[in-house]
């Protein structure tokens, strides 16, 4: 199986959130991301810092993760970014 690159992992995490009606808890997201817990923590921290995802605390006090507008923008532009990288061999 081909090893996923950084951009692809980010896309997969964001896509998982989107596919779950833009609301998912930490544990199922970690499971579906298919990466180690350590790596997931790193990526999640990066996604929060970049403003791609946000944590929402529900009425019951449970934390869920949702995409921000920037996260949606990234998913929309992902294919273009990958094509650009391939075209210019970056």
């Amino acid at each position: 199986m081909k090893k996923r690159g950084r951009l692809e992992i980010i896309k997969d995490i964001l896509r998982t959130i989107q596919d779950n009606r833009n609301s998912i808890k930490h544990t199922p997201l970690l499971r579906k991301s298919n990466i180690s817990t350590t790596k997931f923590k790193e990526y999640f921290k990066e996604l929060i810092e970049k403003g791609f995802v946000k944590e929402i605390i529900g009425n019951s006090g449970q934390k869920t993760i949702a995409l921000t507008q920037k996260g949606f923008d990234f998913l929309e532009r992902y294919k273009t970014i990958v094509n650009f990288i391939e075209e210019f061999e970056l």
Binding site: L7, K70, I81, I85, E86, E87, F88, E89, L90
Partner: protein, 229 residues
């Protein structure tokens, strides 16, 4: 140059300014049309690619500045400009940014291979660019100018050769490498044209049109692939 009528000199300046202006606009368009992609992805390859064209824009700005100074001071050689430090500083900036632009573009292709040593490699590129610029402003020999140009071109081509060697998709990779090789060749010819006046007197327009063509091709590819076109 001093013997030429003023209206011919000004006509030359107009062409020079137009030429530099178009290349600066192309470079800045490449830089800004990839801004969103970089901000979303923070991908290093895109970062180095953008920086290369920003540096080209700065280098071509100083190129046109040098040409204007030559007309203003009525000389054909930048080292003859008086006060001397003015010519030397401008030439240093032009050489420094131009060389660095070439290095950044090559590094955008090979950064993955040496990502962990990026600080050392980029530091070396800055150092070589400073060294090249220093040699150029302190030397007045044509042989040295040619030597520096060949050295710069050799580094660029060697970098691309290393990337090409590991490439899996040979056909596709050669396309962009041909464009980059032409870009480097025409950049170096532009550099030589500043260092050795009247070198391409009869082929100057051809040189300018070819350089413009390369920048326009890259701009077209960037706009098309970035979704701005």
């Amino acid at each position: 140059m001093a013997g030429q009528p003023m209206h011919l000199l000004l006509q030359g300046v107009e062409i020079e300014l137009l030429y530099s202006f178009v290349i600066i606009v192309c470079s800045l368009m490449i830089y800004y049309s990839t801004k969103e992609m970089y901000e979303l992805s923070l991908y290093k390859g895109i970062k180095y690619f953008r920086q290369a064209f920003l540096l080209f824009a700065v280098a071509y700005f100083f190129r046109s500045f040098i040409k204007l100074m030559l007309v203003y001071f009525g000389t054909s050689r930048i080292i003859d400009i008086n006060p001397r430090f003015m010519g030397s500083i401008t030439l240093f900036i032009f050489m420094f940014f131009g060389s660095l632009a070439v290095f950044y573009l090559v590094y955008s292709l090979m950064w993955k291979k040496w990502n962990e040593k990026s600080t050392i490699i980029l530091g070396t590129f800055y150092l070589i660019s400073i060294l090249i610029s220093f040699i150029i402003i302190t030397t007045r020999q044509i042989e040295v100018f040619f030597g520096v140009s060949i050295f710069l071109f050799a580094i660029a081509v060697f970098g691309m050769y290393l990337v090409d060697r590991e490439s899996k998709n040979k056909k596709k990779k050669s396309n962009i490498h041909i464009i980059y090789t032409l870009l480097f060749i025409f950049w170096i010819l532009n550099m030589i044209e500043i260092l050795i006046p009247n070198m391409f007197q009869f082929y100057q327009i051809l040189l300018y049109l070819s350089s413009l063509g390369i920048f326009l091709i890259i701009l077209y590819k960037v706009l098309k692939k970035s979704g701005s076109y």
